[in-house]
């Protein structure tokens, strides 16, 4: 990839995909048959059979979020691997929400296999929460921060801002009733769009505090190293470097909002002039376009998988 400027480059690892892309879905004929080393390794080294995992139709809906999470991890890692092999360079690694697992693997803080195991393990814990105590998330586009806070208080339930993706792009998290109410209120108050996301858990909200113990125990045994370069986390761009701090982040971040706008602002202040999204969708690219129209933001998609 050619770089048209001499500024610094940030690789961006997105959160959960909104749908399974064709590369990994029905048309591909099976996950581990995909001719990429990572798909083979998921089977051989992590005991993870992509093929049966992605094609269990009877449980498709039940595990949709887990599948999307694993697919996001794999496809981001494939993008990153291809970018790296083409000689692409970077000065920072950053991430949005569940993109943290691929970001840590890309930065060398965890192995590819451990990153996958963490993604799957936390995904399973989240699935359990969603079944026992259903909640949800909604993306609201067009309203400003003050209005979002008012909606959270007017919905009169457990509802909070889970993502600040820009000055008029938010995600709310809460119990199922409050989420439905928040969509109604947002549309009534002039949002250009308000819709439920696939999540059945109120991610990035205080409602997740009930599982911190379980997640902390699960994370304990993983070998986490200091990253090769700073991983700028989705909390106002605080760089993660210490392994213990990373473990704690993986637990805490589930209960705290994502500040993507703050993260991008921090990177801009560090001289980043080019943001490259690793994965099949251009979600972060579009959010960066809103935050700073002059900066270069592009997608390094998944190519030549078949």
């Amino acid at each position: 990839m050619a770089h048209r400027n001499a500024g610094r480059v940030a690789l961006c690892f997105p959160g959960q995909l909104s749908k399974l892309p064709d590369e990994i879905g029905e048309r591909s004929g099976g996950g581990y048959q995909l001719p990429h080393l990572f798909f083979e390794r998921t089977w051989e080294k992590a005991g993870f059979d992509c093929s049966s995992f992605f094609f269990q139709h009877e449980e498709e809906d039940r595990y949709l979020n887990l599948k999307l999470q694993v697919a996001s991890y794999l496809l981001s890692m494939v993008s990153f691997d291809q970018y790296q092999r083409k000689g692409g360079r970077w000065d920072f690694i950053t991430e949005h929400s569940m993109g943290i697992y691929a970001a840590l693997a890309a930065a060398g803080a965890v192995s590819f296999e451990d990153g996958l195991a963490i993604t799957k393990g936390i995904g399973l814990i989240l699935e359990k929460v969603g079944e026992e105590n259903p909640g949800g998330m909604a993306a609201v586009i067009g309203l400003e921060s003050e209005e979002m806070k008012r909606i959270c208080s007017d919905a009169a339930g457990d509802l909070s801002v889970a993502n600040v993706n820009g000055s008029r792009q938010f995600v709310l998290s809460g119990d199922a009733t409050s989420i439905d109410r928040s969509i109604e209120l947002s549309l009534k108050r002039g949002a250009i769009s308000a819709q439920r996301l696939t999540f059945n858990t109120p991610l990035h909200s205080p409602l997740m505090e009930s599982i911190t113990g379980e997640v902390r125990t699960f994370i304990t045994d993983f070998a986490i190293q200091s990253p090769h370069i700073p991983v700028v986390s989705h909390w106002s761009g605080k760089p993660l470097s210490d392994p213990d701090e990373i473990k704690e982040f993986l637990v805490e971040e589930l209960c705290r909002p994502v500040d993507w706008e703050g993260c991008v602002q921090y990177l801009l202040s560090q001289g980043v002039t080019c943001f490259i999204e690793m994965g099949p969708q251009n979600t972060l690219t579009k959010l960066i376009r809103w935050i700073d129209r002059d900066v270069q933001a592009l997608l390094y998609g998944v190519r030549n998988l078949r």
Partner: protein, 98 residues
């Protein structure tokens, strides 16, 4: 009611390309009557907000809510028609009051 001109539809296409930074798409690639969202150009709600801001800045017309947005953003032609119908008008408040 004023008529939509070819020139205005061309300008709307330019606005879409410029506002959404669609570097790989030319004016000639956008079909005047093709859907902009989902299929067609495949725009999403984040793009819709960009277009709302673009229309306010360029033509002084506002999209008060999602329902109007859905009507207006069907195609280049419907956007152009909305500009012609609403330029210089006060738009109804977002809370639905007339």
């Amino acid at each position: 009611m004023s008529r939509v001109t070819e020139e205005l539809m061309m300008d709307v296409k330019k606005l879409i390309i410029e506002r959404l930074k669609l570097e790989e798409i030319a004016v000639a690639d956008i079909d005047t009557d093709a859907p902009l969202f989902g299929e067609g150009l495949g725009l999403d709600s984040i793009d819709a907000l960009e277009l709302v801001i673009g229309l306010e800045k360029e033509y002084g017309v506002s999209i008060p809510d999602a329902e109007v947005g859905r009507e207006v953003f069907q195609s280049v032609r419907t956007i152009a028609q909305y500009i012609v119908d609403n330029q210089g008008k006060e738009v109804a408040a977002a809370d639905g009051s007339p």
